[in-house]
């Protein structure tokens, strides 16, 4: 119920006087959102993330840290005040918004209004800021998607625009791979002087000479959703208000392991304004697994919505729906729970020991490999003749590597709104990467059929895998079922840490056999993956860890043994890199260690052994994803070129410690600090979707004006997938991206898609879009021909097709519809006649042989072509403190043909930023009772704008024959190699090897002391 001490304040909001009713303790953030300023976002409530930034009397402040009553009589400015609403196009926007849009500074867009406002405050007082000043100003707003590269570039561009100076369009640079000498000169000129601060370096795309240039694909198109995101339009889950909407809140366990003896909700339920209090007594016990994966989901189904046992601090206990968030929280405090405390275990090694507390002792969970030893899965696979290949090894190296539990820290927390629609169907508006999986998984939990559920995915404020889970949807739905009312739920930041998902910590023991001729002949990996309290992605993440960790060097004998173990910690799940990045740390560091120990050139050693074009992936069949996989062959690889380009761009051999100086230490005195400089590298390979499992579909229909509506199930979680899918459709249909209207991720209106995970969207969904576009293009040609009375012959494929480039060049005779071309929004006939697509559309819909030009297609692939890459990192290690400062990261990427260099490079930069966190600081830490000690973004520490190293991205294109226009994936690859490249660089600087991330100052310091 509203607080009876409610009062009215007067503020000048975006230049207009407004009166706002507020409660004494209400934050300015909440008051502004209640006043429909939805551009102001909740991200943490503690002043750590900055998503709630507004200008208060012209100064940027965190509105979550300001009481609304303090705004009385003051000026408050939000992004809604920058440009008229709605903004339709770039020209409608303020120069800062425009610059953000043009430079690709917007990915998920959740932090964008805060970044834009901070930039405005800076540029209002300093029209010509330096790059350092920009980075410093922006440091109060966290972005988890971009790595800040393009945000800084956007502010630089905005400054120029606001000064009224002209600017060329913002686009990538391109060069052909055909001229080695010219390329070498370009790399030397462009990258030899890092940190010069002259011009922001845009991504460079190096293309093979025979890769045909296309009209739309390959262009640096602004994101199709960037105008609305730049203008702060209400695009996210929590940006809508519904009549009668209730607010849900979750009571979580304060104990790591306990049984609920009794739970008394009477006081909470009696509070006026509380409409439901649900516990395990109120909800049917239906077993499920929360990971959003294809049917049938990998087991075990070890969860229920609410249980009589809690298995980690932050586990679900009860859920409440009330008329305000504050009332809901008050109700939670009135719930009395009598816990029977049980012994708990936090360490995976201890959990596997007989006699350890049994975390899943419930009789109704099936499929746990060894419940008494908390071992949920044992995975074993081997390929090749073990004895023979070990016998060939002249040297055997064995090392152990450890990785930590990293949190996704997407700035938008999990959010969900559920309600009954007018047809009595349950609508779920949710921030999810997997809308179709959510519908299928949710149905049995709430006792509905799938057709009675409609899932809508609005814009998502970042996910990175954490929204490939059903986190809130079931609880929110239960509350709507119980109350009949719309219910909204949103996690707090601390709940994100304790009650969502995280990266699986691992312990990896690698054993590698090499010959004296640098050949790696045998590799074995023993892995322990800590899945926390529930299994969810435990099987698949760790299978991928084995598959990817043994594929990069594709050893003739490869063996994998893995235990996935329960502990009483918050549950691990899907996270960008998905096991592969953990084992890339292990195998890449070990390969570097071997090279160092043997006195071999590390690049040459890796080059001789990495997987090559034409090779079969040794472990692809044995280790699928949750099931047996498929045989796969590498059909394209630019890895060798990636490494060559990276070596030249970083002047590697000039900087790298010489082998004959292996014992020397490169130490310099800077001021009074003892600094050691190093350069390191890693190579990496990932995948493009899950072979034989991921399926995507697309529908394209033609509209009256010759534009097209593209319906895709693919879930753009800020990556720009809507944009690149539009580019693919536009390329095939001969229009610009602006003529493709994208609707995505709505289970009622868009075709099925498995969702956004496994680096699948460009490759799998992109192929589906291209197929649908080819069909539609054929229909357009046929109708256009009919309009002109031209009779068409069927093409060889049974439909119309375009002529190949070779046929066009050779002047081959027109043979049918394939000779009719679509480009520049028109249909072009070989005899020179043309008609616009609008003419075709109007004719087909209203005049001649009336029909809807529409087609659908779906795509599944038994290949998952790996993108490849190389990362080069330059570090400075403080020899006295152990602090590692990364000064530069350069990544060369083979993602096949790059559909959109700006969005693709944004993926690379963002992945690198998350990789830096994984390598240097991010780690969920627990006390002895299993309580997380750093459940805040500040103490946990996500990288800020003013501490990012210089990041450069170079694409080395290849033509993947199975990809749409030759494309492969790009989203996960960049996170895979950061940690091992830094480990290699630290070794180059100091001579020590670090085998556990993060490389905190104390870990480095201890290692240095051990060395001396």
């Amino acid at each position: 119920m509203p607080d009876d001490r409610r009062r009215t304040i007067r503020v000048i909001l975006n230049g207009q006087e407004r009166t706002l009713p507020v409660e004494p303790a209400e934050t300015l953030l909440d008051a502004l959102r209640a006043a429909s300023c939805t551009s102001v976002k909740y991200g943490c409530g503690t002043g750590d993330c900055g998503a709630c930034t507004v200008l208060f009397d012209g100064e940027p402040i965190y509105s979550c840290q300001k009481r609304a009553v303090e705004a009385d009589g003051h000026q408050v400015f939000t992004v809604e005040g920058l440009a008229p609403f709605p903004a339709h196009q770039l020209d409608d926007l303020h120069p800062i918004q425009r610059a953000f849009t043009e430079t690709g500074a917007i990915q998920c867009g959740y932090c964008t209004p805060a970044q834009i406002l901070t930039a405005k405050a800076l540029l209002d007082r300093n029209p010509e800021p330096t790059r350092d000043e920009i980075q410093s100003a922006l440091s109060g707003v966290l972005c988890r998607c971009t790595g800040y590269v393009k945000i800084v570039q956007a502010v630089e561009r905005a400054a120029v625009l606001m000064r009224g100076e002209g600017l060329p369009s913002f686009r990538h640079s391109a060069v052909s791979l055909s001229d080695d000498e010219a390329l070498t000169d370009l790399l030397a000129e462009r990258y030899a002087t890092p940190g010069d601060g002259r011009e922001p370096r845009t991504p460079l795309v190096i293309s093979p000479p025979d890769l045909a240039r296309l009209q739309v694909v390959g262009g640096s198109e602004p994101k199709v959703d960037s105008v609305k995101l730049a203008s702060g339009a209400p695009a996210f889950t929590d940006d809508v208000k519904m009549e009668g909407m209730l607010h849900g809140a979750l009571l979580t366990s304060p104990h790591a392991h306990a049984r609920i003896r009794s739970i008394d909700t009477s006081e909470a339920a009696a509070l006026e304004g509380v409409h439901a209090v649900l516990t395990h007594h109120d909800i049917p016990r239906v077993k499920y697994a929360s990971g959003g994966q294809s049917f049938p989901q990998p087991g075990p189904y070890d969860q229920v919505c609410l249980d009589d046992k809690v298995r980690h601090v932050g586990d679900r206990v009860a859920v409440v729906a009330a008329e305000s968030p504050r009332l809901a929280r008050r109700a939670l405090r009135l719930i009395e729970v009598d816990y029977e405390l049980l012994p708990h275990v936090l360490d995976a090694a201890e959990a596997r020991v007989s006699g350890s507390p049994v975390i899943h002792d419930e009789p109704d969970t099936e499929g746990i490999y060894d419940p008494d030893r908390n071992t949920v899965h044992r995975i074993e696979a081997a390929e090749g003749d073990r004895e023979e290949h070990w016998r060939r090894a002249d040297y055997i190296f064995e090392r152990e590597y450890r990785t930590s539990q990293q949190q996704h820290a997407h700035v938008e927390p999990h959010a969900c709104i559920t309600y009954w629609d007018e047809d009595g169907r349950l609508v779920v508006r949710t921030s999810t990467q997997v809308p179709f999986h959510i519908r299928r998984m949710l149905a049995p939990l709430v006792g509905l059929s799938e057709k009675e559920i409609h899932v809508i995915k609005p814009r998502i404020g970042g996910g990175f895998g954490n929204k490939q889970e059903m986190i809130l949807e079931d609880l929110c739905a239960h509350l709507t079922v119980a109350t009949g009312r719309p219910v909204r739920m949103m996690y707090s930041r601390s709940e994100e840490f304790t009650s969502s998902r995280s990266r699986h910590p691992t312990v990896q023991r690698y054993r590698v056999g090499v010959t004296k001729d640098m050949e790696v002949v045998a590799t074995e990996l023993d892995l322990v993956g800590d899945t926390g309290a529930y299994g969810t992605h435990g099987l698949t993440v760790n299978m991928v860890a084995g598959q990817k960790g043994l594929t990069l060097y594709n050893t003739p004998y490869s063996g994998f043994r893995c235990d996935v173990v329960y502990t009483n910690k918050p549950t691990a799940g899907a996270f960008r890199g998905y096991g592969a990045m953990q084992t890339h740390f292990g195998i890449e560091t070990l390969m570097s260690e071997i090279a160092s120990e043997m006195g071999w050139d590390v690049v040459e050693f890796k080059r001789r052994n990495w997987i090559r074009e034409g090779e079969l992936l040794v472990m692809a069949k044995a280790l699928g994803e949750g099931r047996e996989g498929f045989e796969q062959q590498i059909r394209s690889s630019g890895l060798a070129e990636c490494v060559r380009v990276g070596l030249e761009a970083t002047a590697w051999y000039r900087k790298r410690r010489k082998l004959d100086q292996a014992s020397a230490v490169k130490e310099t005195e800077v001021g009074n600090e003892r600094l050691r400089h190093g350069i390191g590298m890693s190579v990496m390979a990932h995948g493009s979707g899950i072979a034989g499992l991921d399926m995507a579909a697309a529908t394209i229909r033609m509209n009256d004006d010759g534009s097209f509506t593209l319906l895709v199930g693919a879930a753009d979680l800020g990556t720009g997938s809507d944009t690149i899918l539009a580019q693919i459709a536009a390329e095939e249909l001969g229009v610009g991206v602006e003529d493709i209207l994208v609707h995505s991720s709505d289970t009622d209106f868009t075709p099925f898609d498995k969702g956004a995970y496994a680096s699948s969207t460009t490759y799998v969904s992109g192929n589906a879009v291209r197929k649908a576009a080819v069909k539609v293009a054929t229909l357009v040609r046929k109708h256009a021909a009919a309009m002109l009375g031209v009779e068409l012959r069927e093409s060889r494929e049974g439909g119309a097709r375009k002529r190949t480039r070779q046929e066009q060049v050779s002047g081959a005779q027109m043979t049918g519809a394939e000779d009719i071309e679509l480009h520049h929004g028109a249909v072009w006939f070989p005899d020179g006649r043309r008609m616009t697509l609008e003419q075709v559309a109007l004719s087909s819909l209203h005049q001649q042989n009336q029909h809807q030009i529409v087609a659908s297609a779906s795509h599944v692939s038994h290949d998952s072509p790996p993108p490849f890459g190389a990362q080069f990192v330059e570090v400075v290690v403080d020899a006295e403190t152990g602090q590692v400062t990364v000064e530069r990261v350069l990544m060369t990427v083979d993602a096949g043909r790059v559909i959109n260099p700006i969005t693709a490079s944004g993926q690379v930069e963002g992945g690198i930023a998350q990789g830096l966190g994984f390598a240097l600081c991010e780690e969920m830490v627990y006390d002895a009772d299993g309580r997380l000690v750093n459940p805040r973004l500040g103490p946990y520490h996500v990288h800020k704008a003013d501490e990012m190293p210089e990041i450069d991205v170079i694409f080395v294109e290849t033509d993947e024959p199975t990809g749409p226009y030759g494309a492969k994936s790009v989203a996960e690859l960049p996170i895979d190699g950061v940690a091992p490249a830094i480990a290699d660089a630290i070794h180059d600087a100091t001579g020590i090897w670090l085998r556990e991330v993060p490389f905190t100052p104390e870990r480095v310091w201890r290692a240095l002391r051990t060395q001396t």
Binding site: Y62, G140, N672, E880, Q883, E923, H943
Partner: protein, 221 residues
């Protein structure tokens, strides 16, 4: 924010924001260093000076810098006003309203130094040291070193100054002093740095901050 008068310490109103302090032309460079990097523009804007004085742990680097500079607090009560050192103010629960923070300004005879270690460049330091030294006639007239991250309460002024006063500042003295500081600190370990690590860093950071003072003195000479 009050204007600074010649020869007088800089009087800062408790309601002034940290951003206003940072932007003031007379703000010492040492304070600027402490206020940027870790703390965002937003946080500085909405954090009044008075709040940081009432809770030292809120912004330990800023407080440590004030301690090193020898700042004091003017308190007002019903029976009048009194000036207390910031160090004393922090140690005791001083009654009265804060009327002003007085920050001595660094003149040409003063040198300052800062050093810290953190997981990343803009992370909250694990340990930080701030040093201030006044030279006169080739010898140290006064010196202060404040540290964060090595006391249970987060920040404290170490009082090594007397050991240096009256002597020329030398590397040997600094090393001796830093080693003594290492013995005096009472760190509490956490996930960012153990007790042992923090103790070791107390020595390193103190030494570096003091050496920075020495280097400035040498270079200016």
């Amino acid at each position: 924010m009050s204007e600074q008068e010649a020869g007088e310490p800089w009087a800062v109103h408790p309601d002034a924001s940290l951003q206003a302090v940072l932007e003031a032309p007379c703000c010492p460079a040492l304070l600027r260093t402490a206020l940027t990097g870790v703390h965002s523009w937003q946080l500085r804007t909405q954090t009044p000076v008075g709040r940081t004085l009432r809770a030292f742990q809120l912004m330990p680097q800023w407080i440590a810098t004030l301690l090193a500079l020898g700042a004091s607090v003017r308190l007002e009560q019903g029976d009048g006003a009194r000036e207390v050192s910031l160090e004393r103010f922090g140690r005791q629960a001083s009654s009265g309203d804060i009327a002003a923070l007085h920050i001595p300004l660094i003149d040409s005879a003063c040198r300052w130094g800062e050093a810290h270690v953190a997981r990343t460049p803009a992370d909250e330091p694990i340990v930080a040291a701030f040093a201030w030294v006044r030279f006169g006639g080739g010898v140290v007239e006064a010196a202060r070193v404040a540290l964060t991250g090595v006391w249970p309460e987060g920040v404290r002024l170490v009082a090594p100054g007397n050991a240096l006063v009256g002597e020329p500042l030398t590397v040997e003295q600094i090393l001796t002093l830093a080693a003594r500081i290492r013995e005096r600190v009472e760190p509490v370990g956490d996930y960012r740095g153990s007790e042992r690590y923090r103790r070791a860093m107390a020595e390193v950071m103190s030494r570096r901050a003091l050496k920075a003072c020495l280097e400035l003195e040498v270079s200016d000479a």
